[in-house]
Symmetry: C2
């Protein structure tokens, strides 16, 4: 496949290459062809208008038809074969094996949403039948279900060039819900984005979806993204990336004459609390596993554990020594792009220079800047220093972690209460000990979206019982998550029909339950027809 | 009961009467004793800190205990008897019968939320059991459910001094969800607010709920409310009132370092579309019913029909004449307070002065300003004038409506497309005719939260299949509604537990389903234990 470097707007290839930009191969330290177009206000408007024009027809498609579309996207992406793996690997510095795994996850997510949409009960249909004889006023016939919001803007993440990018969780859930998508490609992997975007368009054509159901625009700066969020036809936003970027989009959306929801998944330091009973059981094994979680994927996961807390003592020293040793021995590796490496270096420099913080381990083998490499780093401080300096609790994206040693359990609890919103919080210890420290557990429950027992935060299972989200600044919307089929609900709103004849109702609300969805009928769940 | 005019903060009566304000009897045109305190920043902080201090214990109460609390609030309010009816009637100008009906609705809502909380399935528990043998990585044990957000600020509405005020839908749903509530009393009915607030505190004491589970503060201006929304311990906001007030709170919440959700139910003009088949069937009967909906409660409902659209012709003229006649004959009545009457007069003056708009009916009997009265008013214009002047689509709170006559169905559809977000949209006609005008139907579906067939928007049934909400500016959050048990979901967030032993899980997620709630276990709903 030859990349054209242009926008894909309503099925048409458009854009002016004159003011383009190139992707960069972080491992080779060299630009990649071709040049990609920079979108302007006219491109954004054209994509939004096309999405709006497609909305009514797309929202009215049969659920099975939308499910086929999602499944077709999955197979079109798989059909891109090694060409996609190679381009994504070059643009991200991620190994081919990792890209293949992520491709599998991307296809799995698309098929998971397809299955939920095909089954159909996620629309939460509710029917209450009329009681004409009720006094003082008759009870009307009321029926309610979720309906799609309208065009959705999706911003891909650099650290998951497939699973949280052009055809990632946000796009899959918005398309599944019945919303057209306008994707702003991440400028670090525009070629990967174009390949996946073209796969989506092939799927749209094969499934005869309306033009405008999907558009892809390129751009390097914040302007294109802000323009998209401010466009009056855009009804919701999905974003995965930095706190700064997510907050800028949130602020722009809140300042609109008609504000819209922004689902931004941003920073998290994913604290790991290690109770004395866990340290006593085997500090070395714990240290080895934590080091693995810190170094996994060069630390470039939103669930990377950036803080580890324990109580002072001999076992904690053994643990800290073993952790340092693993970090020292870890191999430096190529980061996603230069900007991420620059921010990692600045963040770790800031940590190292902070009063009361010691850098206790650095990867032995020096990181090669020409290959955009970073190596693991470990810092250490005490709880009072941590409590006195907010900066120490901020995310440093990459393979770095700060060990905080508390004097006792009371101080550990105090630290837990000081934390900001997190995607995850992990706690290590035996059940009896944890049960004795209810205050600590409550503090962690308050800040995190997911609690992990004797485990580590990296590795996010995609299933109905997962929640990937959390209080701000982990996300801009604590009420939802980006992983699993509940993500569909981010792009819908409830609507009610009063006293409508069955023929004018959406299929899910008609007397005859032709789609066989689970419905709440007069207070009881049922898949039966309404008599 | 003697009113003390003070704040109720964490069960204590506090406040300085020096800078107080008085309620006003709109029917008598006279102030009402006593003087009420104006809350300052210290009062707001004390209430927020008390709510935060109560949160952990309150969130951990058994659902049945919280349900008892809500039911006890209902019976404490009922026990206030005629003293409450009298005070609420004097402060609002609403007739005693209407207040009694509203008291019934308030108690019904509290009991409905109590039943949902006691039953417990609303927490949406999901369990996926581990698959340790899965490759390449084992599947962990994952369990997820809704947990309460934290302290909630509630702003009462002036037009429902009981059902959408201190112990109204927002308070009931927040308390039911496990969130402490800080209520800002509406300054138009501070005495009613104090009586209901004290009833809530008696219920809290009887049920041994933690201090701080409920506080009530008084204030006349925006400052108290803004201070509450900006307080870092407040986690969500419920509001019913004007667009100006709701948007100010939304903006303050979005500008916080940690933004929080704002559920503001604001203005709506509730368009009624009358198709030719409905006019042909009986224009007089239709006009009589529409007039009844316009004049109901002096037009002081958020679902008041402020716009009626039809197609030019003889039947439309018959309809318009009959509607005018009913409006002329309607009795003026006392509005809620002087501010509302002033705004009604200004709004109808603006409509009357607009180019191309004619005032076609005014209540025959003149409204008495000394009794804060307003009478019905009807205006008329054509579709092109309506389309050219945004002001004509704005809400005028009170018994006023604008009839817009379109040349043909195409123009009617054009008008429908021009509308902003609405709580409701009504359509009159026969099913065959409506089915032929899919564009009109789609336009209405896009703007409204509830669609009504051959009916009128006033009268909001409280049940699971109701949706009372809609796109901005009807509300600030299109994804939720303030009526019915789905309102509980506004004050929770999902949380997941990974690999936790049953003993450390919330009751709803343990292997043994001791609360008997409906759970999604490995993809299938069940109330059984997990083996």
């Amino acid at each position: 496949m030859t990349l054209h470097g242009k926008h894909l707007i309503a099925g048409r290839i458009t854009g002016d290459e004159a003011e383009g930009f190139r992707a960069w191969d972080p491992a080779e330290g060299a630009p990649l062809d071709p040049s990609f177009c920079e979108a302007g206000a006219a491109d954004v408007a054209a994509a939004a208008e096309a999405a709006e024009a497609a909305f009514a027809a797309y929202a009215a498609t049969e659920p099975a038809h939308r499910a086929n579309f999602l499944e077709r996207i999955a197979s079109e992406i798989e059909d891109l074969g090694e060409a996609l793996v190679e381009r994504a690997s070059r643009e991200s510095g991620l190994a081919a094996g990792r890209i293949r795994g992520e491709r599998g996850r991307t296809a799995y997510q698309l098929r998971l949403f397809a299955a939920a949409v095909r089954e159909g009960s996620w629309v939460d249909a509710r029917i209450e039948r009329p009681v004409p004889e009720r006094t003082p006023v008759p009870k009307p016939d009321l029926r309610r279900m979720n309906v799609p919001l309208g065009p959705v803007a999706v911003f891909g993440a650099s650290n998951f060039p497939l699973a949280y990018s052009v055809a990632g969780g946000d796009t899959a859930s918005a398309l599944g819900a019945g919303c057209p998508v306008i994707c702003k490609a991440h400028p670090a992997h525009p070629g990967t984005s174009e390949m996946v975007g073209r796969a989506i368009l092939r799927a749209a054509e094969a499934e005869k979806m309306p033009d405008g159901v999907f558009s892809l625009v390129h751009g390097q700066g914040y302007e294109v993204g802000l323009g998209l969020v401010r466009h009056p036809l855009v009804q919701a936003v999905g974003f995965t990336g930095s706190l700064q970027g997510g907050r800028a989009l949130f602020d722009a959306a809140a300042a609109r004459p008609v504000p819209i929801p922004v689902y931004a998944e941003m920073g998290s330091v994913n604290p790991v609390f290690i109770l004395p009973s866990a340290l006593e059981k085997g500090p070395e094994a714990l240290a080895e596993k934590l080091a693995g979680s810190i170094l996994l994927g060069v630390g470039q996961f939103c669930t990377n554990p950036g803080l580890a807390f324990g109580v002072a003592g001999e076992a904690m020293e053994t643990f800290a020594r073993a952790l340092s040793e693993h970090i020292r021995r870890g191999e430096p590796a190529t980061m996603l792009h230069r900007g991420i490496r620059d921010r990692f270096c600045a963040g770790t420099d800031r940590l190292g220079a902070a009063q009361g913080v010691r850098r206790v381990a650095v990867a032995e083998r020096a990181a090669d800047p020409a290959r955009t490499e970073a190596g693991g780093m470990l810092f250490r401080t005490d709880a009072q220093t941590f409590l006195a300096n907010d900066m120490l609790a901020e995310e440093v994206f990459g393979p770095s972690s700060l060990v905080v040693v508390a004097r006792d359990m009371a101080e550990l609890e105090e630290v837990a209460h000081s934390l900001k919103g997190q995607l995850t919080a992990s706690i290590h210890g035996d059940a009896e000990e944890i049960a004795r420290h209810d205050g600590l557990v409550r503090a962690l429950r308050r800040v995190a979206g997911r609690f992990i027992f004797n485990g580590f935060p990296t590795g996010v299972e995609v299933c109905s019982a997962m929640h990937h989200g959390g209080p701000y600044p982990a996300t801009t919307d604590v009420r939802t998550g980006a992983v699993g089929d509940a993500a569909l609900l981010r792009f819908v709103r409830p609507a009610a029909w009063q006293d409508f004849p069955s023929s004018l109702l959406p299929a899910e609300l008609r007397d005859r339950n032709e789609r066989g969805v689970r419905r709440l009928v007069d207070g009881a769940y049922s898949t039966e027809d309404v008599g």
